[in-house]
Symmetry: C2
Subunit: 363 residues, 2 copies
């Protein structure tokens, strides 16, 4: 895979979004959030989403210059209408508002409705931690993939939840997790390598487990975290439901399984997000909080290992490692993704900055 | 198993706590929370805890008439010091305070430090839902039982998290889950029936999985929700850490693995809890929120089944079913638990209201 600097990829995305008619401030927020995902090794939520964004845009499911409105605003809560555009701009706006509010009263929550894909949930949670406060972010989706325990049909998107917490000498704790057992991207990877997937990642139609990654990809019958009832899948299912409640029921977003039924196929996805912030200083001196976070994190790193070659990690470590590597050596993009960006740029007459393809285009 | 009415058991517990020197208002709050657990079928968190409470009391680890102090109080946040007593009274006080505060500004969070076991987390979350707002509750513990992914030593208690959400025609959604794969009580049950436990519920010393329930009970090397890295145990581990952060790092409670190290064995457990409330009306009209909760819950009940005899449940259903049964027919108590209550009552010279044993005592 060829590597590209985040700076170059950022300019390429900027060129495309600008050509799509996205306002400059939205472009900036969208590109930042997307590059965070790719730099952090969360490839599935960054540049690779451009295929889908392009598809949604062409299908009239994405407003490129949305009117983002604050429809409700209180001392510690707010509700933002995303205007039917991508979620990165309203998401960033919402989290920033939650951060500002919690600087005043120690706690805040901001919801977003009428939005779309917003990238990696951890990005927004980390915005809070980088400002010294605890952040939480959840989002709904538009495509059901998680099957409730005892069910045979998916009833939730992979409904992620993210938390980020600032520490002292340690980097922030950043937990960013789908509430399904495995991410869709892992099925794609298994298929590419001709491997089976573990038995309880997904079901075949009818409700029996399947190890064929193609079955997982075709039918999207993913198990909730836990995998089976015996292993606690009712907990993963419960968490997926709670993420849905915060992201859509609370904000006025659409619950996907009833959206089509209630509003028809042409209705906007009306994805919802939920952001929360907690200021440690509302509870105890910040320096004590940071010291105790370090005690916790240091203790976790010191956990005796099951396998001496594999250290115990703390949430956010793999992403941090990827970020260091990506910042130094560039972000690796598979050839088909480079080709896709080239096509998309060509399609909207944006400048193609990824050279080899650019040469091809000029030829 | 003999069944006893909640009313009778409540009077028995009241007699014991009163004899232990607990103030009347604390007794009332403690008994309510405990009976909720037993009525809801969460046996492990109700009356069966009396053995441990008695043990902690005798070991000087429980203050029976604690001074419960509000040490920090803002418009939407507060911090309560439990004074070293049981957690039910400060927990109830904290959740009620969070409910009152969120009636004003739509959102609130209250922490508790210097506490102890508080029963079932779902009880507190449901206090909020019963008042029409979303509730969340977490707690730390004093005994490590969850092993981080890749680790060979437990680094977290079973760190539960609970959410409750009011609906319209449906009863509230109530999710109450430990962040371990399985509860300790399930190991006791397997041992009693001479059964093995599923492979990935617990590890043997060294870090390999063990199916022997006795190994799980002796060593408390429980896996985090997910069970294995492949099945997403890093998510369960991350959630356990997040519950610990909210319950202890934020409140000034003790993180168990470092407590002994930092403060010695004689130090109080300093258990911490965290409570949060969100008022739906801060985001959208309450009637719309309730209608959408019903759409969600009704859709979940309508999920096609994997096995037609087993309907898809919604978080809180098993507890609701147990509560109906328990209210009608009484709470079933195993003989050894009745004997224990009898002993405890005898020991503190409280009246014994559970007849057969009472007769024995009089003989």
């Amino acid at each position: 895979m060829k590597r590209f600097s985040a700076e170059l990829l950022g300019r390429q995305l900027t060129a495309i979004f600008t050509a799509w008619g996205m306002p400059a401030d939205h472009v900036d927020q969208t590109v930042r959030a997307m590059l965070y995902a790719d730099l952090s090794g969360i490839d599935s939520h960054g540049i690779s989403m451009m295929a889908l964004y392009q598809q949604h845009r062409k299908a009239g499911k994405l407003v490129m210059a949305p009117k983002i409105d604050v429809v409700q605003d209180g001392p510690v809560t707010a509700l933002i209408d995303g205007g039917g555009g991508l979620g990165h701009a309203p998401g960033t706006m919402a989290m920033n508002r939650a951060i500002e509010k919690c600087m005043q009263l120690g706690l805040a929550a901001v919801g977003v409705r009428n939005s779309n894909h917003f990238g990696a949930a951890g990005y927004y949670a980390k915005l809070a931690a980088d400002r010294g406060v605890i952040g939480m972010a959840t989002t709904s989706g538009w495509k059901e993939s998680i099957v409730p325990t005892f069910g045979a049909k998916p009833m939730f998107p992979t409904n992620p939840i993210a938390f980020a917490v600032p520490a002292g000498h340690n980097r922030p704790f950043v937990l960013d997790m789908a509430t399904s057992t495995a991410a869709i991207g892992k099925f794609t990877l298994a298929r590419r390598h001709g491997r089976k997937v573990p038995k309880d990642w997904a079901l075949a139609p009818g409700g029996k487990p399947s190890t064929d990654p193609q079955v997982g990809l075709d039918h999207r019958l993913l198990t909730p975290l836990g995998g089976t009832r015996e292993m606690g899948s009712h907990k993963g299912y419960g968490l997926a439901a709670m993420v849905e409640i915060l992201s859509t029921v609370l904000t006025g977003g659409s619950y996907s399984p009833t959206r089509r039924q209630r509003y028809g196929d042409a209705a906007p996805f009306n994805v919802g997000h939920f952001f929360m912030t907690i200021h440690p200083a509302a509870f105890r001196p910040k320096v004590e909080f940071a010291a105790d976070m370090d005690h916790l994190i240091d203790a976790l790193y010191g956990t005796p290992r099951a396998d001496r070659r594999q250290p115990v990690l703390v949430a956010g470590d793999p992403e941090e490692t990827a970020r260091r590597e990506g910042t130094k050596r560039g972000i690796p993009l598979p050839d088909d993704l480079v080709a896709l960006l080239t096509d998309i740029a060509g399609d909207c007459r944006a400048e193609n900055l990824l050279k080899p393809a650019s040469r091809r285009r000029k030829a």
